[in-house]
């Protein structure tokens, strides 16, 4: 037995003339959280639908736990836990009825698998008699996760589970995923939020149907090829356009009220940038050395793809 849980090789999927996936290859190890990070339209949902046997790839191969996504789809459907991007429970059924229904169709015993969902479900249990449609966004996600878990799947596939969920619920949701990982469940998760990448064991950065880079978040961040400075300012837009005009600057991006700028050559350092700013009257702003984050890397890869 290999340690590989999910495996994809050269996956291609077109919708008419739109290329949703342009030959994606990756592998996910057993028991890890693997994140597909990318903006809307990167092809994450299409990829997940192929892995969950809902779509047929136009080319390429994929398997989950050694079962082929096309040939062995019947068996795969018993071992997968899938949470689509859109809330896909029955809004007119109560929390309890939804859970019972999903346990029923998977022939799962709620009491036997309750330990899996206990910590999640306990939070929504007080609302057991409430219709699912009347829950808040965060609670809906908890219920959906409980329903996807109740049959003790070997692989959990979550399509943008935290989109449209408040910051606190997002944090809680990730804590739950990390706990589930410790139960030995392999988790594939997609997200447009770069800050969630570091919570994954390994990630793949996706854009326009291709994987630009993959590896552990540390590997990706340390592969960042430029020196990076951070400047805090309250005149972000002015400063941004000013810096973009400076020689020797590779890129400058806005991160909230901060500006991240990377330099193209070794001669341009903190001193030079600071002096440049002072010449234009920005005396309060001091550039500092910064560690690149996933978002810095993502933007860099994106630019590389566009020019290349």
């Amino acid at each position: 037995m290999t340690d590989i849980s999910v495996y994809g090789e050269g996956l291609v999927k077109n919708y008419g003339k739109t290329e949703a996936l342009r030959g994606i290859s990756f592998s996910v190890n057993k028991g890890e959280i693997f994140g597909f990070i990318g903006p809307d339209g990167a092809g994450k949902t299409t990829l997940f639908r192929i892995l969950t046997t809902l779509l047929l790839p136009d080319a390429g191969d994929a398997s989950v736990e050694g079962f082929h996504v096309v040939k062995d789809f019947r068996h795969l459907r018993t071992i997968l836990g899938y949470m689509p991007g859109r809330f896909s429970l029955y809004q007119d059924l109560t929390v309890e009825e939804n859970l019972k229904f999903f346990a029923g169709i998977f022939k799962a015993d709620i009491s036997k698998n309750y330990h899996l969902i206990k910590e999640i479900y306990d939070q929504i249990a007080p609302f057991a008699k409430r219709r699912a449609g009347k829950l808040s966004g965060g609670m809906k996600q908890k219920l959906a996760l409980s329903c996807a878990l109740i049959h003790k799947p070997e692989v959990l596939i979550l399509d943008e589970p935290t989109t449209g969920v408040d910051a606190v619920s997002r944090r809680e949701f990730w804590e739950m995923l990390i706990r589930l990982k410790s139960q030995g469940i392999t988790i594939l998760v997609s997200t447009p939020y770069m800050d969630e990448a570091i919570l994954c064991d390994r990630v793949a950065l996706m854009q326009h149907g291709s994987i630009m880079a993959s590896g552990t978040p540390d590997e990706i961040m340390s592969s960042y090829p430029h020196r990076l400075f951070k400047i805090s300012t309250d005149r972000t837009l002015e400063l941004l356009s000013l810096i973009r005009k400076m020689n020797g600057i590779h890129s400058a991006e806005m991160f909230g009220s901060d500006i991240h700028l990377s330099v193209a050559d070794a001669e341009t350092g903190i001193e030079e940038v600071g002096e440049y700013l002072r010449n234009y009257g920005f005396t309060a702003e001091k550039p500092e050395e910064a560690k690149p984050g996933i978002e810095d890397c993502f933007i860099d890869f994106m630019k590389l793809n566009q020019t290349g």
């Binding site: 639908r49 047929l56 018993t78 997968l80 689509p84 429970l89 007119d92 229904f101 169709i105 998977f106």
Partner: protein, 364 residues
């Protein structure tokens, strides 16, 4: 499976719209067709211009108004006022009795009676005239033995519906329409809803087989449709005295066959529509209108142009209406409509096979 059926029942019971269609509709339709929408003549206003005003003419007039079909309309004294009274809508028919009515009868001459009807509604006018002539003929026959003139009088008997009550004709039609509506439209909508709301995505990524999904969807509707058909029968039996002359068991059996057919049709519609709107439109246009117009429920198939007659052959309701009419009104057994039964069974099979073939085990 069990959970699936429970879930389906919960969907139905929690949706006000479904409940109204399921349980309000049969009641309203039966009462509406039974009481209000009727092509029988009852209490129609009729005026009389009696130019003789003798014992014989009065006897005719009394017979007319004693029949229960007619009520005395406004008083008209001369024929010139007839059109005016039709225009006002006060009258539907005027009976004009010529002068010296009794005298002519006694001397063996032909007395004159004229029936003038407002034919802006031709069906009613026709009925009024034929009812009135029937009554007048009956009266004249009473006099014939005395006159001793040999006349050929055909005696007609209306079998299976002696008093020509329209409710006999509507009940089979309503059962058919409602079963079609409930079974086909509701199932097609409920499957399409799963697709529209994205829950089908989750159902597909589960060990459920297409057959189980469809069966789970359909089962509650089989039961509810059956209860529906039963309640219409009970209503029409006790309120409108529509007879069930044939075997009740056979009737229920054929009803179940038709329910299955309608459900398989509904499933088929849902496999080709992706949202509730499409499913609803398809059911409406593909099922409801032909059921009402082409099944022979309201308009006789014999009077349709040949193309539409051909078209009506593929209308399941046409065959079902024939079957239940024979059971309920004629009391005949399966030997008289095994052909129709076979046609229904064949259609069911075709739609089930087509649905299984078209049911998508994936999203696209």
């Amino acid at each position: 499976m069990k959970q699936f059926v429970i879930k389906e029942f919960l969907h139905i019971f929690r949706d006000v719209r479904s409940m109204v269609i399921l349980f309000g509709m049969p009641l309203v339709q039966v009462l509406l067709f039974g009481y209000a929408i009727t092509n029988e003549v009852k209490d129609v206003k009729v005026s009389v211009i009696d130019q003789s005003y003798d014992y014989a003419s009065q006897a005719v007039v009394n017979k007319l108004f004693a029949s229960g079909y007619f009520l005395k309309g406004e008083h008209i004294s001369s024929t010139s006022e007839i059109e005016e009274s039709f225009r006002k809508g006060e009258n539907k028919m005027v009976v004009v009795i010529g002068p010296d009515f009794a005298g002519k009868l006694e001397t063996g001459q032909q007395p004159s009676i004229q029936l003038i009807a407002d034919a802006s509604d031709p069906n009613t006018a026709n009925l009024l005239v034929s009812y009135a002539s029937g009554i007048i003929n009956a009266y004249s026959r009473e006099l014939i033995p005395a006159a001793n003139i040999p006349v050929i009088v055909p005696e007609s008997r209306m079998l299976y519906n002696p008093s020509l009550r329209s409710v006999y004709m509507f009940v089979p039609g309503i059962i058919t329409i409602l079963l079609m509506l409930v079974s086909a439209m509701m199932t097609s909508i409920s499957i399409a809803r799963e697709k529209e709301l994205g829950t089908m995505e989750v159902l597909l990524v589960s060990p459920l087989k297409p057959f189980q999904i469809v069966a789970g969807k359909v089962m509650p509707y089989v039961l509810l449709s059956f209860i529906n058909a039963g309640s219409i029968l009970i209503l029409s039996y006790y309120i409108f005295n529509v007879p069930i002359n044939g075997s009740l068991l056979l009737l229920l059996g054929e009803t179940i066959l038709f329910i299955l057919l309608a459900l398989s049709l509904g499933i088929f519609i849902s496999t080709i529509s992706n949202n509730q709107q499409t499913a609803m439109m398809l059911s409406m246009f593909a099922l409801m209108l032909p059921t009402i117009l082409l099944s022979g429920f309201i308009f006789p198939i014999e009077n349709m142009p040949a193309v539409l007659q051909w078209f009506s052959l593929i209308m399941p309701p046409r065959w079902f209406i024939t079957i239940i009419k024979s059971i309920m009104l004629k009391g005949s057994g399966i030997e008289y409509f095994w052909k129709e039964t076979l046609i229904l069974a064949g259609m069911t099979l075709v739609f089930i096979l087509a649905s299984i073939k078209k049911f998508k085990i994936r999203l696209a």
